[in-house]
Subunit: 337 residues, 2 copies
Amino acid sequence: MSTVEIRKPYLLLIGDMENPVNAKTAFGLRDWAPEACMGQLRFSKNAVDLKLPEMSPREAALAGAKTLIVGIAPQGGQLPESWHPVLTQALEAGLDLAAGLHQRLRDIPVLATVARQHGRAIHDVRHSDAKFSVGNGQRRSGKRLLTVGTDCALGKKYTALALARALNERGRAADFRATGQTGILISGRGVAIDAVVADFIAGAAESLSPAAAPDHWDIIEGQGSLLHPAYAGVSLGLLHGSQPDALVLCHDPLRKTLNGFANVPVVPPQEAMPHYLAAARLTNPRVRFVGVALNTAAVEPRAAEALLARTAAETGLPCVDPIRTGVAPIVDILESL
Amino acid sequence: MSTVEIRKPYLLLIGDMENPVNAKTAFGLRDWAPEACMGQLRFSKNAVDLKLPEMSPREAALAGAKTLIVGIAPQGGQLPESWHPVLTQALEAGLDLAAGLHQRLRDIPVLATVARQHGRAIHDVRHSDAKFSVGNGQRRSGKRLLTVGTDCALGKKYTALALARALNERGRAADFRATGQTGILISGRGVAIDAVVADFIAGAAESLSPAAAPDHWDIIEGQGSLLHPAYAGVSLGLLHGSQPDALVLCHDPLRKTLNGFANVPVVPPQEAMPHYLAAARLTNPRVRFVGVALNTAAVEPRAAEALLARTAAETGLPCVDPIRTGVAPIVDILESL
């Protein structure tokens, strides 16, 4: 039983990446873990600029950084060989390495060798070498919220981060629990749940949010969708193992079909909810929805307001866009539970 | 994309195992793949006797055997070192090795080395090294039946084997599709679905029952239960990827709580069915239940008859015990679909 633990603070490696779309992880880290982002390392002035201090691996290590994060997605998923020397220098300077790439850094022989020589860790957070137990279904103390969705990639991580931050700002004990690579880099720990062996999905989810104080909230990043033909197994195991007291449904009102599955319609929130409740009751009979998070990024403000109002009416729940409106109405409910 | 393929016929290794309970795989092979079981290899007269010809690895290879199967579950899950020489002899005689043990045969250095020298395969069917794609949700031609359950270990494999055999006996094109280690050894192929990385459960299930002739039946061995707090993710991914036209619910009428989960009640068949149908419709809107398979092994004949009649009345479906009554009423329905 173990989850990833990555030592903060970080030096963010941008290299020569000029396309901000390929630097989403770096931006996510800067926005959600600013206290952990000590500096950036760029190879050229044209590279993406996070407005962090420019540092070499040695400078960052001297300033107290613990881990160099590969904050970009290289073309084709493979790190260019020309980047190996800077990663080697980081290990030699005393930094661990962490990346959310398809390619494993630890499969690059020179990095594996130098890491071993210097006693440094390499975290390939998209992969999971951790050993988990099968789920046991035992109730744990503490409160848990899971963000779920009508599809992939529509705001489950962002919503969970916003809820955890808002609870903390109100002085409540709350932890964001990461289940995907970007979330793991942001919080410095977690489980890449879709990389776990199938038999252990629920067990891994159980270990991700262990027993806690009765009024502590774990805010768990959801993955996939129960209504997704490829990923529902992951979503269900995560749902059962998380034993959520509260669910927030994340939805993109403009999406007509699942991302990449043109033949599978996205159902409206009120149709998705009964599926989640029926499944979640197996491990927590008191589960309830506490809100809906719409992703209205592509909609004009007036239209977004109307969408939020309509969804609130259709579901009978507070309906927010975490970016436009914040998540206060949902946090109000959590404080009453 | 690949599934295990094990070359038949087999030599079954019993060794010195005297307890029939630890030789379930060997008995399953003898009962369900008799044409593939060429002989047995025992170290003593007190060992479990399958009533097969006694053969050494060399004799079996000369007679045409292709694979030595470790047909027993050793105490503690580890093969005694004293068994290594006979496995080495089998590789040298030209046999592949296959086992469904927790311990990987290929992790035993002497076996890995000798297998490489002689170009032989080692199949650790409980583990999965196969690479799969994520599910695509595309409909495939051919018909599919999946056995599902109210719990683990109550007859899903046996029911699927009985259905496939009965269809074949009626001259219908049908294949048993194995998803667990014993089933894989029986059929010589399949996917240990619970050993697949979580992201690929549905994709692995899709590859297990590929497009086939329109009147061909794939009879797919179910795993776990949608209502199981540890394994439901596996069950759901297998359900979605299998896209079943027909479901058979397997149930043990005497089991009050899930095997090993004293706090989780087993629900009756008519309560489990709606969960399965709601989930299965995502990838096959025409899915239906075609029968119930009760495991009445622990009940007197008169009481078993009453249980079957009551369950048939409660579900409105043919209700059989595959061992006591056979599966003819369910096969009748399949022939009409």
